[in-house]
Symmetry: C3
Subunit: 262 residues, 3 copies
């Protein structure tokens, strides 16, 4: 069956690991359609993986299987799980990786993966992507029922994004992701920003950016610009430049959004 399996990992693109995992999947279902989301999540950075899955998985058609393997605790106590939602099945370690994307979905069942007959015959201690998660995704892509793979459990690990806080007439948020264009994505939503005032300004690392624009082109090349990102979050960018370098910003830096003084 030519079902879609998306791949989000921190395996990198030069090592044999993602190739081996693809092979393990295709040796169970040679017709599975593998779609790379990314293999360049920073090693072991679960929050970054969760954010990337949040911003990409939901655009896929119903029935897609989303395999996510950012798994610094591989071989340790975190549970291997699958999360069945109304639209998708997520497969990977239960360490918070699916917390953001599954919060957008209607969750039906969470299954603790324990049935070894669906794993590779030898399971290594360090590579469950190839030995457990890939094979389970492959069997799911052949139509296996999620309940086949283990017992239902009540919940999954929810390690959500930090939430922004109201502070008088202002909102205190933070940078939650910096993309490779150097754009700063914050945890302040479009609704937060629009409710605040029609004239707002943001302060990041001592620099103030005035006014909410619609596109990067609404300011001169090289100027700072504040807008709503394609994913609906407040974003600070530099038109044709890198806001991360200009503002010396990193993930976790505070963002203060407030009505503009004028």
């Amino acid at each position: 069956m030519a079902r879609i399996i998306t791949l989000t990992t921190d395996f990198g693109l030069r090592d044999p690991y993602q190739g081996a995992m693809k092979g393990a999947i295709l040796s169970i279902n040679p017709e599975a359609r593998l779609i790379d989301i990314t293999h360049l999540i920073a090693p072991g950075n679960i929050l970054e993986g969760a954010f990337v899955m949040l911003e990409s998985c939901g655009f896929f058609p119903r029935g897609a299987i989303h395999l996510g393997v950012i798994d610094p605790g591989v071989g340790g106590e975190r549970r291997p799980v699958l999360i069945e939602t109304e639209d998708y099945i997520f497969v990977g370690p239960d360490n918070g990786l699916f917390s953001l994307v599954a919060a957008q979905e209607k969750v039906r069942r969470v299954i603790h993966l324990t049935k070894k007959e669906y794993f590779r015959s030898e399971v290594s201690s360090t590579f469950h992507g190839r030995d457990i998660f890939g094979p389970v995704a492959a069997h799911l892509s052949l139509g296996a029922d999620p309940g086949t793979f283990g017992e239902e459990v009540g919940s999954f690990n929810e390690a959500a994004l930090p939430l922004p806080k109201k502070s008088g007439r202002a909102i205190r948020g933070e940078v939650v992701y910096i993309d490779s264009f150097g754009n700063l994505i914050t945890n302040i939503s479009k609704a937060d920003a629009v409710n605040l005032s029609s004239l707002i300004e943001a302060e990041v690392n001592g620099i103030t950016i005035k006014g909410l624009k619609k596109t990067y082109c609404d300011v001169k090349k090289g100027s700072l610009v504040m807008l709503i990102s394609s994913s609906g979050l407040l974003e600070v960018a530099v038109s044709s430049g890198k806001a991360s370098a200009r503002l010396k910003a990193k993930v976790g830096d505070k963002v203060l959004l407030r009505p503009s003084k004028r």
Copy 2:
């Protein structure tokens, strides 16, 4: 329909953007065959994107749809277009990105993409790859006629490569692309080089390279070598080394090709 859609973007490989675009395409045509050309064009570098499309798109079978999104003016005044040629359909922003590759093809129609019913229901101001170009490519891959997506317009943006100039018995060209092996690709064609003389030499940043060779192995390891690139352009390389580092060369550096003094 399992039609081929190639992808050339500057979205990078660690962000959710190319995954989201793939999802948007597959949610319209789950059977589309997505082939990554690259997502690592330098951010906003239209000429680099144009060169990479020139050197790769033409090798695909007839009927392929080539999606190109290097779009620093997203949300601004550049037109979203599709260009139908005898062999292919190109989809993306009309900012010069298709100028080189379409110049190699018999152009049939250029369509300004205006029919919103083929876009995603909400079009962001900053991500037309996911919201306009991907969906249009997906509908094309299902067999939609190019005329469906908007009005025909007379022309597309042609921002061609700089042309080399004759100068006495010499040719003055420049470096137009540096690949990741550090090879310098120039805008001087095989015909230019061969017409000049059977014994030629090139000067780049004050260094002279004598004689046109056939392969990297025709000189000692570590030596400079001049040859015709796989795409038919004059190339300066170092056998098993990096010409870009050796010659401190960058895109735009002048290359003087002349009959050899002896």
Copy 3:
């Protein structure tokens, strides 16, 4: 025919080369299923390519065609070959690239690729991935018999990994690969390690790591740990860190494994 062709090259991910090769394959067999293993082998590093193919190709289903192009001698004297084994067909330059992976397989035939009718009509001197190896892989994926492409030859280039040496009660090996997590993979096998003693220690660049663990989680975050890698080789890692940086290690560095003093 929707046969799997895997791709392992040093073409990089930003240049047009891997896209052009994919196009050349698909223009012969539009239904071939292209699976990227990696395009980021260090330029010209045959041993690295051989190691990555060893650790990934064998996980694919029988019948897969493995295309490998790390080809610093392109256009020179190395032979273009295909190696048919019981499970797979390998296609690429005969420069040692297939030495490790083919040693794991039952080799049936080695064919010197000479029949030009299966190459691209114009073969460049510098890009046989696009002009020879890709097209041959494409014809194989359509079901062509390996014998079609040239004469059988007796052997292929075997440039194996360095072997570890016994030295009294110790084993002297070396680092053969460093992955992007900074883990050091050695040429010492699980059997070597286990035969030595139940209590072993490794010395790398003057630092001693005591005891063989099962997972990265068996030591504190930030500690050095020695374990058996997912591919069955002795590995030195830092839990949630980079052993390569901690030990200032590079490929070729010596690893001394010995019974623990206590």
